[in-house]
């Protein structure tokens, strides 16, 4: 395996969890709900995914558990913010804190065990193509899923009627309500989709990325995913670009250090954040386009008048 190919594969692994969580959150925010609990849902997905995979021996059941728990955990957020109309920012933060604490408690008995690893895809002939074979045809199945997910969400949001309805709820919930759209139901579904994605992203960390469970293993990735959604101005393919850019600079700076190029490592470590912000600000500098993409009702409480 050549070095370039190895680097590219490492980048894909680093970007995949960010992409999955961010695409999920994008759908949530497009429906007008701001869920700051991504980190909490992700870490819950990581612990249950790991536990389920270890208990059953099947990474796929692990992923399934991660998705289900992520969605259930987000349901708590949905109930509080959509039915009881609590403050979304505070509730989201609480969800993150709860997730970090609860996962630590639940996972206590799973620390110190190596996990079940998911085998990479292998397609005879194609995977063996030099240079690009492993990159395009030999990665873990979730990597392909993440690309499909991005494409699916992009198609759903901008090419289907249901997607249009979801966006209308996010842009002006009062009008959507007046048109007879069930705003709360749509938001419930969107939040749960986001939770499922965050759970899957967490499961990716504990099953594929580093097959083990340790407390706080998400290490802030949920927050990065949240930031990517905003900087990508709520466009799925830009989220993908942002996630890969972030991954590329993260891995690139590690290689730069290993080469010993002599740039201070503190500066190199901050590069992924700087580069991602700069590039995404540049691509979204068209103010009018950004305004169009920003869900106008984002974070605003909705109480249907009866």
């Amino acid at each position: 395996m050549g070095m370039l190919e190895a680097i590219l594969i490492t980048i894909a692994t680093a970007a995949t969890p960010l992409l999955i969580a961010a695409v999920g959150e994008l759908v949530v925010e497009r429906s007008g709900v701001l869920n700051l609990g991504v980190e909490g849902m992700m870490v819950m997905g990581a612990v249950t995914g790991f536990a389920a995979a270890l208990a059953t021996g099947s990474p796929w059941l692990g992923f399934l558990a991660a998705i289900v728990v992520g969605a259930l955990f987000s349901l708590l957020f949905a109930f509080l913010t959509l039915t009881l109309v609590t403050n979304q920012v505070a509730t989201g933060l609480a969800l993150t804190l709860l997730g970090l604490g609860l996962s630590g408690m639940l996972g206590e008995g799973f620390v110190g065990f190596p996990g079940v690893k998911l085998a990479n895809v292998y397609i005879p002939v194609l995977t063996d193509i030099p240079l690009v074979g492993k990159l395009f045809f030999g990665q873990d199945p979730i990597f392909y899923l993440s690309i499909l997910l991005t494409a699916g969400v992009a198609y759903f949001l901008f090419r289907t009627r249901a997607g249009l309805t979801l966006r209308s709820v996010g842009d002006n919930h009062a009008s959507a309500h007046a048109l007879g759209i069930n705003v709360v139901l749509i938001r419930y579904l969107a939040v749960m989709f986001g939770g499922a994605c965050a759970g899957l992203a967490g499961g990716y960390l504990s099953i594929v990325y580093t097959p083990q469970w340790v407390e706080n293993m998400t290490a802030g990735r949920g927050w990065i995913a949240l930031a990517l959604v905003v900087f990508a101005s709520w466009r799925p393919w830009r989220v993908l670009a942002g996630a890969y850019l972030f991954g590329a600079v993260t891995i690139g700076q590690l290689h730069a250090q290993a080469l010993g190029i002599g740039v201070p490592s503190q500066l190199l470590s901050s590069l992924p954040y700087l580069a991602t912000i700069v590039v995404l600000v540049l691509i979204s500098r068209n103010r009018r386009l950004t305004m169009v993409n920003t869900p106008a009702s984002l974070g605003r409480p909705f109480v249907p008048d009866r």
Binding site: T10, V214, E215, G220
Partner: protein, 356 residues
């Protein structure tokens, strides 16, 4: 943003400790930089606390805060502990140094013990540390024997003396076997981020390192090394479960005896300010079993360990040349502890520019 959330977590955790005062008991409180489930640094400190609880039973009450960020938030956490009736507070990471001393000034009746630092600005502050670098020297010897490429990859956390001390000791140990041995260093700029540590390990392996060692706290690098079929050293705890055919040995931190001793001295009223720097000799630094290596390497490792343990040999014995080629220690000269605890330069051969 991660910092914000951690600080909120810390604040929330602090709030949950409010009323826990039992008069007769001595209360020992601990601040950890990572989660106790990291299976590395903080985990080992907590194991020490559990030992103390077992040993001292009813006399002792303990409390801890985990994942407390280094910096301003630490000060709040420590102060909260001091107010909540702790008799002795252990702050177990280098970055708590200034916060510990600041709070200690305000609470002269509470004893403070800061791990791995060097500032004792008030009579109620002690510092304690272990000579992990003694273990890293042994690892360097093993690495140079085991590596085919002659290149080891070193995942470092932050450019503080303790870490630099480890890198140099590893290098010196390796050079004692192979003068041309190379160490590549990657700074993760975190103590704990399994994903990033794994990525750092991959980067080092992709660039030719065939031995991985780490000064960060998770088991992820060990797993990467296992996956790539090379050898690695564990950190802080025995990580053999993550690399059955991979781990050569691990430096295991055993804090239990020290914690028991210090808490006892508070109970007896004999606690005194001190600066403790124990190592293999005192049993603070323990090597996990030597595995996955031929017998001759194992024998050499054991001999090296025995020599350090008996005090016959100090890894920082001259002649040692600095990275820039100037002489640091003459032949036979041994570095004094003060210099070592503030070490801010590499020895010759380290393939990295030390971030200042």
């Amino acid at each position: 943003m991660k910092k914000t959330i951690l600080s909120i977590a810390a604040a929330a955790a602090v709030l949950s400790f409010g009323t826990m005062a039992a008069e007769a008991k001595t209360k020992a409180c601990f601040i950890y930089v990572g989660p106790i489930g990291d299976f590395g640094w903080s985990y080992q400190h907590h194991q020490g606390v559990l030992q103390a609880e077992k040993e001292l039973g009813d006399q002792l009450e303990t409390a801890y805060l985990e994942s407390v960020p280094e910096g301003a938030d630490a000060e709040r956490a420590i102060e909260r502990f001091a107010r909540s009736g702790c008799n002795i507070i252990f702050t177990t990471s280098f970055g708590y140094m200034d916060a510990t001393n600041k709070v200690a000034g305000k609470f002269p009746d509470v004893k403070f013990e800061h791990a791995t630092g060097y500032k004792r600005e008030h009579p109620n502050v002690s510092t304690y540390n272990s000579k992990f670098h003694e273990g890293r020297y042994v690892q360097g010897v093993i690495a140079a024997k085991m590596s085919k490429a002659g290149v080891a990859g070193y995942i470092a956390s932050f450019p503080i003396p303790e870490v630099v001390l480890g890198i140099n000791a590893f290098m010196l140990g390796a050079q004692s076997v192979n003068p041309d041995f190379k160490v590549k260093v990657v700074w993760a700029n975190t103590w704990f981020d399994p994903g990033k540590e794994a990525d750092a390990a991959k980067a080092l392996i992709d660039q030719g390192a065939d031995i991985i060692t780490q000064h960060t706290d998770s088991t992820a690098p060990m797993q990467v090394a296992a996956e790539r079929g090379i050898k690695a050293f564990g950190q802080a705890s025995d990580m053999i479960a993550f690399g059955k055919d991979t781990q050569l040995t691990s430096i295991v931190d055993d804090w239990g005896p020290y914690y028991i001793h210090q808490i006892k001295s508070v109970i007896d009223g004999t606690w005194k300010q001190q600066d403790v720097w124990d190592g293999m000799k005192e049993g603070n630094v323990v090597m996990a079993p030597y595995t996955n290596m031929p017998d001759d390497v194992k024998k050499l490792a054991e001999e090296t360990e025995a020599k350090i343990k008996s005090g016959e040999f100090n890894p920082y014995t001259g002649p040692i040349t600095k990275q820039d080629g100037t002489e640091w220690l003459k032949a036979g000269e041994v570095a004094d502890n003060g210099t070592l605890l503030g070490l801010n330069f590499y020895v010759k051969g380290v393939d990295d520019k030390l971030p200042q």
